[in-house]
Symmetry: none
Subunit: 230 residues, 2 copies
């Protein structure tokens, strides 16, 4: 997945700065808004993955922003507010907020809650569109745990599958013997390189049986193997 885009709606420049700095340091993309109106419009134009929303905005009330956004999107909204009354929390949550953090808050906690939200998002996406890898006629459906070659299902043993995934997840990169054996078997037992060669042979046979033109796996003598991007 790409870096998530986070919309920060906060009028206080110092708080906004704190949040933005934190996000930047953790490699999130972000856009900011300084008022409720601007927040709602930014949400519409940028379609962010997550919204961080302050309730005490200069123009419209934060709860109104939540309702407005919820009118057409289910983007997760994490409220960050100075109001710590129960009634404020309840109003915001019932309006459609997903989480509520009271100021002063710990940036670490904010990040953890963002991660939790992200996790849920990732699951929801994977349910509808399972993550697949494609390269030439090769297709790996990670969620289903199946591999297809030119549409035909390919039967792989569990080690072969792990090996192929490892290569696929590093397409174009040369992987050393040590790296591969360490990842497929537990520890890097030296003698496994012989096994690795055998598995590479069977994998190649399976991948290149249909069409001998294409070569998915390349060997780099003295170093390791590499899947080429077709």
């Amino acid at each position: 997945m790409n870096k998530p885009l986070i919309l920060v709606v906060e009028d206080d420049p110092s708080v906004r700065n704190l949040i933005v700095t934190t996000l930047k340091a953790n490699e999130y993309n972000f856009v900011t808004a300084e008022s409720g109106e601007e927040g709602a419009s930014q949400a519409a134009t940028h379609n962010p993955d997550i919204i961080l929303l302050d309730l005490g905005l200069p123009d419209i009330d934060g709860v109104e922003v939540i309702k407005q956004v919820r009118g057409w999107a289910i983007t997760p909204i994490i409220v960050i507010s100075a109001r710590s009354d129960d009634s404020d929390k309840i109003d915001a949550l019932d309006a459609g907020a997903d989480d509520y953090l009271t100021k002063p808050f710990s940036v670490e906690e904010l990040l953890a809650r963002i991660r939790a939200t992200q996790r849920r998002l990732a699951y929801m996406n994977s349910a509808s569109s399972s993550s697949v890898f494609e390269n030439g006629g090769l297709k790996i459906d990670y969620a289903a745990g199946c591999v297809y070659l030119d549409g035909e299902e390919l039967h792989l043993t569990s080690i072969e599958y792990k090996l192929l995934c490892l290569l696929a997840q590093n397409v174009g990169k040369v992987l050393t013997h040590k790296f591969i054996t360490a990842n497929v078997w537990g520890s890097s037992w030296d003698n496994d390189i012989a096994s690795l060669r055998v598995f590479m042979a069977t994998l190649r046979k399976k991948l290149e049986s249909a069409d001998s033109e294409r070569q998915y796996i390349q060997t780099h003598i003295g170093v390791g193997y590499r899947m080429v991007r077709l």
Copy 2:
């Protein structure tokens, strides 16, 4: 949707009572557990919609319970804990918790957070919930709890039925032994894999007796089983 089932894992009887009374007053169904072990096994057997989890349990640490449950389920977990340190919150959230409430908490806020969680669940379910499943000559009527094969009703025992539903709800996906046993039986007791094999054999016999051509269930050696989409 039916009333959601909520699992309450809390050792302190007074707190447990407060929560349960609140849930009851708001027409939720619930089950309770007084320890981490019990909580994990209740989660497996009852498959609740939401889990409320205290971290300070008498046996295993709450974070361990989270990890255990997350091994096979994505059930939303709301942590309710006396520990208010940031690090505790972060650990719990990163282990897989969805929300974190510190004691003493307001029951109204708890209810609001449950509602927020429910809202998300409802959205996720609405995407993929129909009352009947069809695949090839196989038909499962979830509402009626009946299974048909080429129009003929098929008599299945309750475990066989659970197993078939699990496979059906994940058509095309390879399900690990651990995942299956955890979902059909309680926790993943190692020896259940032997039982699983026997049930798979009987299920297959029933499904493939009529027409030996079609193979609904595929075994992935060393991994698990998978229902193929026909």
